[in-house]
């Protein structure tokens, strides 16, 4: 995918001439990324582990203002880019990061990684506004961008409420307030529906796999923990002191989740049998009983428009009878 922006896309970029100056030509990469999996995980998860106390330009301290019609935007994380697309403002996005997978941005030129974008590419593409998660190291990047005349707008991306808030602020920013409200309402309504259908059914104890070796999971305070609750599950590591804790197999065996939720990319070939061969994991009752739910990693690891779909996938897997299915 890294190699996919060629002449054809430069021509596409040139059709924007009426809106903004022609972007400078980006160098085509000579080498393909060989470590996308780790980076993908880190960067997509990073969207969810920011620090809420930072005040980036455009955060709650200052009310969001609609930006100029011709402003050229890039998002540093896939989730914010997907929200922009979901509220019908995809034409405002003029670049992507190496981690974006949405087809609407796949043909755009890349600015590199999310945490460490190429400043040169940002200037070369004549970017005006950078959407970024609020995190500990973002203020330094925002200040650097400011020196280059690029505005940075921060969004909190940790909880489901942050998602609603981000959608609303993005709606104001790109002047799509009506579709933004519709999207928020739709997500909220679908989450309510899931809760209602599940009703008072007993909670299923689960463990969500962020990383398999060493095992890393999620605790209270993350949107994934919330999605698990909404879907009628109980996260056995909810009480861990960190939002994304590394945990030992011993405590996993002791907490004994009855279902393991394992996010899997579209091109992953991971199977239950493979997990049954993994040292440590094979000792868990849930694995021995074949109770692994493989879910779409893009949907789950990004707090974006697919959040309600993620909750639905999980609810169906944990409570099949509630949704008219049969018990697996």
């Amino acid at each position: 995918m890294l190699l996919s922006f060629g002449r054809e896309n430069q021509m596409k970029a040139r059709t924007r001439e009426s809106l903004a100056p022609v972007p400078l030509r980006l160098r085509r990469p000579g080498v393909v990324h060989t470590v996308p999996v780790v980076c993908l995980l880190l960067v997509t998860s990073m969207a969810a582990c920011g620090n809420s106390s930072d005040a980036l330009p455009g955060s709650d301290a200052a009310p969001m203002q609609p930006m100029d019609d011709v402003a050229r935007i890039v998002s540093l994380v896939p989730s914010l880019a997907e929200l922009v697309i979901a509220i019908g403002a995809e034409e405002r996005l003029v670049a992507r990061t190496d981690y974006d997978t949405h087809p609407a941005v796949a043909d755009l030129p890349s600015i590199g990684g999310g945490l460490d974008p190429s400043l040169e590419a940002l200037v070369g593409l004549d970017i005006d506004v950078v959407l970024m998660p609020e995190g500990e190291n973002m203020p330094a990047l925002a200040a650097r961008l400011g020196e280059l005349g690029i505005s940075a707008v921060g969004f909190r991306t940790e909880t489901v409420d942050d998602l609603y808030d981000s959608i609303e602020r993005l709606g104001v920013l790109v002047d799509r307030t009506v579709p933004a409200t519709t999207l928020s309402d739709d997500i909220a309504q679908r989450l309510r529906y899931i809760s209602e259908v599940i009703g008072a059914r007993p909670l299923v104890s689960v463990m969500y796999v962020i990383w398999s070796d060493p095992p890393m999971t999620t605790a209270a305070g993350s949107y994934i923990d919330e999605v698990i609750s909404i879907a009628g599950g109980y996260n056995v590591f909810s009480d861990a002191p960190m939002r994304w804790p590394t945990v030992g197999f011993e405590s996993m065996v002791r907490r004994n989740p009855s279902v393991i939720i394992w996010p899997r990319g579209a091109d992953s070939e991971l199977t239950l049998d493979a997990v049954r061969d993994m040292p440590g994991w094979r000792d868990l009752e849930a694995v021995q009983n074949g109770r692994i739910v493989f879910v779409d990693s893009d949907r789950f690891n990004r707090p974006g428009p697919g959040l309600a779909d993620a909750a639905m996938d999980l609810a169906r897997a944990l409570h099949p009878s509630a949704f008219g299915g049969s018990t697996p």
Binding site: L24, L42, I111, G112, N137, R243
Partner: protein, 331 residues
């Protein structure tokens, strides 16, 4: 002597060439003519921003850090009379890394963009002070073996602290800390170039002026003493000077390995170990080497970047082996 002069002229030319290449290539394709226009202050404003605002600081910072690390390496090797000595051997980089990781993990980087370099520098100074204090307590005029051992031990201790801190950090913090530890010039600004220059350039000049007594020291402390060198004072000056240089370099760009080890050895193979020649040669070659390495780091996977330390090792080892084989055979 004329051979050394010729070599230095060649090194100046290659340094100048590295600077031109570093300014000419990047994630965005800019014709060389427009690069020069931008340097002269004319042409498209976006191209000026890229060339003058982004590439120039990176090239200058890489040159300063490369010069600083290579010269420090040459001095440490002579001082400790140990070919494996490198600028980080006295725990300086670990100290700086602890400072930086503390700043990242405890969110100080959110309050000020200068928090990280300041914390890294403070960490480096703490490490040096601890090592010198340990060596001084062991007596016998800063014994080099004790210094080496103290540096390694302090380094190991600080590395353990880094692992402890990183273990409790969340993923974003972890990645930020790792990016920094691996070394990068992507944060270079005209301010960081000036800050590093203010400390590193005078220190490098002072070290170069000490080349003659350093020549005597590298033969042996005993003979240096008999030839009238105040060994203890000279050692203290050299340690503090080099540690300062390394601390500032690490604070500016993260810990970039390999330059301080390989550049001095390569130059010794080519031109001998007279420090009056070696130290200026190290400054030029180290600078050119890191400018080239950074240029590669930011272009091969553009617009993404490689850690520059990966490039220095991957590119440096084959060159060094070639030099080793070629020049060892003749002797």
């Amino acid at each position: 002597m004329t051979r050394h002069v010729l070599l230095l002229v060649g090194l100046i030319a290659s340094f100048a060439f590295s600077v031109v290449v570093g300014l000419a290539v990047g994630a965005v394709d800019i014709p060389i003519g427009e690069v020069f226009d931008a340097l002269l202050g004319s042409g498209d404003s976006r191209i000026r921003t890229i060339v003058v605002g982004l590439r120039l600081p990176r090239v200058l910072l890489a040159a300063e850090v490369g010069a600083g690390l290579a010269v420090s390496g040459a001095v440490f090797q002579a001082l400790l009379r140990n070919p494996l000595a490198e600028p980080y051997v006295l725990g300086v980089s670990s100290g700086a890394a602890v400072g930086a990781v503390i700043a990242i993990v405890f969110g100080m980087t959110a309050t000020s963009m200068f928090a990280l370099p300041i914390a890294a520098f403070v960490g480096a100074v703490v490490a040096i002070t601890l090592v010198l204090a340990m060596a001084a307590a062991a007596g016998r005029g800063l014994d080099t073996h004790v210094l080496l051992l103290a540096g390694v031990v302090i380094g190991a201790f600080f590395n353990a602290i880094i692992l402890l801190l990183v273990n409790f950090a969340d993923l974003e913090t972890f990645r930020a800390a790792m990016l920094w530890i691996m070394g990068s010039f992507s944060g270079a600004t005209s301010e960081s170039v000036t800050t590093v220059a203010v400390w590193v350039l005078p220190a490098l000049l002072a070290l170069t002026l000490l080349a003659r007594p350093l020549n005597l020291m590298s033969v042996g402390e005993q003979s240096a003493f008999h030839l009238g060198v105040d060994v203890r004072k000279l050692k203290l000056m050299l340690y503090v000077g080099t540690s300062l240089v390394v601390g500032v370099c690490v604070a500016g760009s993260g810990a970039i390995g390999f330059v301080g080890l390989v550049v001095p050895h390569a130059l010794r193979l080519v031109g001998g170990s007279d420090h009056r020649w070696l130290l200026p040669a190290c400054a030029l070659t180290g600078g050119a080497f890191l400018v080239f390495a950074d240029t590669i780091a930011r272009t091969v996977v553009a617009p993404a970047e490689l850690p520059v330390g990966v490039v220095t090792a991957l590119a440096g080892v084959p060159v060094f082996l070639w030099l080793l084989i070629r020049y060892q055979e003749g002797t």
